[in-house]
Symmetry: none
Subunit: 204 residues, 4 copies
């Protein structure tokens, strides 16, 4: 006996809002990554999602909000990805190595996403006020990270950690971008970067 009214896995256009939102977000991510912010029209996103372009505005007040939501999602995903992989009670070197592995793993699973998400705010809208650019926030995270290592006695150098946090993030970002662009293996990038950072932080 078969349920004829069991619409699971059906192909019909659907009509549930959350589904459309998910489709739009997926499409938006794809296009923002592939084409960048300015070359992606709300209409393109809607079409990519298989929806009419009016639907876009049912879920986002405007294009900018859609981009910001994409950025926020990427940030959370990466955070969770790293948190799931890194055990805080490890020595500095392992910690850094694992964190970098986490970042680059995510980066490889979602190619281009981090780069697209880090698009500077001025590119999006001169007037807009994105709370804090993603790069800066992650730089601050690294500052915290090192501060904790200092507190544990693992790092004993006298840096201005706000500056160094940003430096670390910058090193990771740029080495990662170009490392992969030039086809290097993940382990090599992680390895080199880990040694580079550990040496820079370890006193002696």
């Amino acid at each position: 006996m078969v349920h004829t009214d069991l619409p699971s896995e059906d192909q019909r256009p659907a009509r549930r809002k959350p589904e459309s939102l998910a489709k739009l977000k997926k499409a938006a991510r794809k296009l923002f990554v592939e084409r960048g912010y300015h070359a992606t029209r709300p209409q393109d996103i809607a079409r990519e999602a298989g929806l009419g372009h009016g639907t876009f505005y049912l879920h986002f007040p405007d294009k900018r909000a859609c981009f910001l939501s994409f950025v926020e999602d990427a940030r959370q995903e990466l955070d969770e990805h790293i948190r799931a992989r890194v055990d805080q009670g490890q020595p500095l070197q392992t910690l850094i190595a694992n964190t970098l592995a986490g970042i680059f793993e995510y980066s490889q699973n979602h190619p281009g996403v981090l780069n697209a998400a880090m698009t500077d705010e001025i590119v999006i809208d001169a007037e807009g006020v994105q709370a804090t650019p993603l790069l800066q926030r992650w730089g601050a995270d690294w500052a915290e990270f090192v501060r904790a290592a200092v507190a544990r006695g693992e790092v004993s150098v006298d840096y201005d950690l706000d500056i160094i946090g940003q430096a670390i993030l910058g090193a990771i970002h740029q080495a990662g971008s170009e490392g992969f662009r030039s086809g290097r293996k993940r382990e090599d990038v992680v390895n080199n970067l880990t040694r580079f950072l550990v040496r820079a932080l370890k006193n002696k």
Copy 2:
């Protein structure tokens, strides 16, 4: 004796195309820095230069070329600025410190220029193909720089220098951007960054 190569202050009425080009470049730099690529119209540049809109297209084939010319000029200026300040026959630490001082000095004399010039190509034109992004080129420069130090025996660590070159550039860029954005003093940024990089490169 007649000065044939002294066209400045000459009496002939028309023939000062170079003057217009200089005005346009200056205006373009100002606006690209202040507003970013997309928010700057060729018309704005021409007007800022005190010229008619049409004149813009006498000197640049299109907006993109104007931006690229701005980037190239900034790159050359910075290169010269650093070259004039850094003596290659110095120990690594001094070399790095002087180079960083040169970069940040330029950055302070021309606020925003480096940041604007590093605008990712995807932002300019999805189809276009900027030879090599400025960041990547400068990262390669740092790779060369370190390779030379290795050759001199000053650095004896076994890095993949292409990766590390990019990492260094990234650290400088990000630490610089945020260091100044947060109002830190140039010496502090240079100082911290120098120690950071020297430690990372010096094998004990």
Copy 3:
């Protein structure tokens, strides 16, 4: 014997379409008055009525019909309001004074309604054909009114009453709109207008 025409207060669960219609009409009036025709969306009306957007189209074929229904309701309400207040068997001056008082009383009880209802048809839909604009109809009513006074011998001037009917209506409309907009008291407006009209109609 069964009351087939007494659906009010019945117990059956569904079947209160009239209730929804009333809610929609009330909401439509509020919004048309507050925002005007073009700034009011069917969706706004439905939401103001506490109903889903789709419900709007269960009761009106389109937005235009809803507006026209609003106009018609206002016309009837005003007519009834005046009829209830004015005794036809009075001398001209009293008749005019009472009618004006009726109009302005209604206008004060339902602020903005008459103005909104008199929105010119061209504003509603260039193609549409509103039977006869409200202003014109009321102008014709005044023509009738004066014709009756002439028949009773109270007015003995030789006017083209169709023209004069419109003139009277125009005077009332404009003086009323601006009288209230400038905060004048109802009695003052009624008073001045009554004397103005009576003098214009009374042959010496």
Copy 4:
């Protein structure tokens, strides 16, 4: 011998700004009158003027400004038309008769213009702030007009002239609109209206 480079009276697309502005204004008037504000798109105006639609925005910041300019032009034209026809040193009756003749003459020469220009501001833009609606301004003009007659001793009734000014304007507007719509002759409308107003104003 013939000047081949004498471009007077030429048919070429032209390139002088004032000419385009004039064309646009003419086209705007035509369309605002024929279709009303909302049914007229900037694009339609430009096309009617034989220009590209970008040109519209070289002359008006937006559609609203174009409409307001149309209104202002109409106001000035009418004012001048009346001023040229009416001699202030005449008795009230003649004055009113001539003024009305002037208004209706203009109205006939420029059919629909006054009606279109009097479109209520709420129709144009709920947010906008048109200094004072045309109707109200003209009502105030009539108030002044009567005030002067009172000063000259020609009118000795005790009206609130601000109210009565609006009433007069309303009477003229409405009687005129409908008079012509129903095909009445100008003299008849002027005649009836003049007698109506003079009686209303003359004390005995």
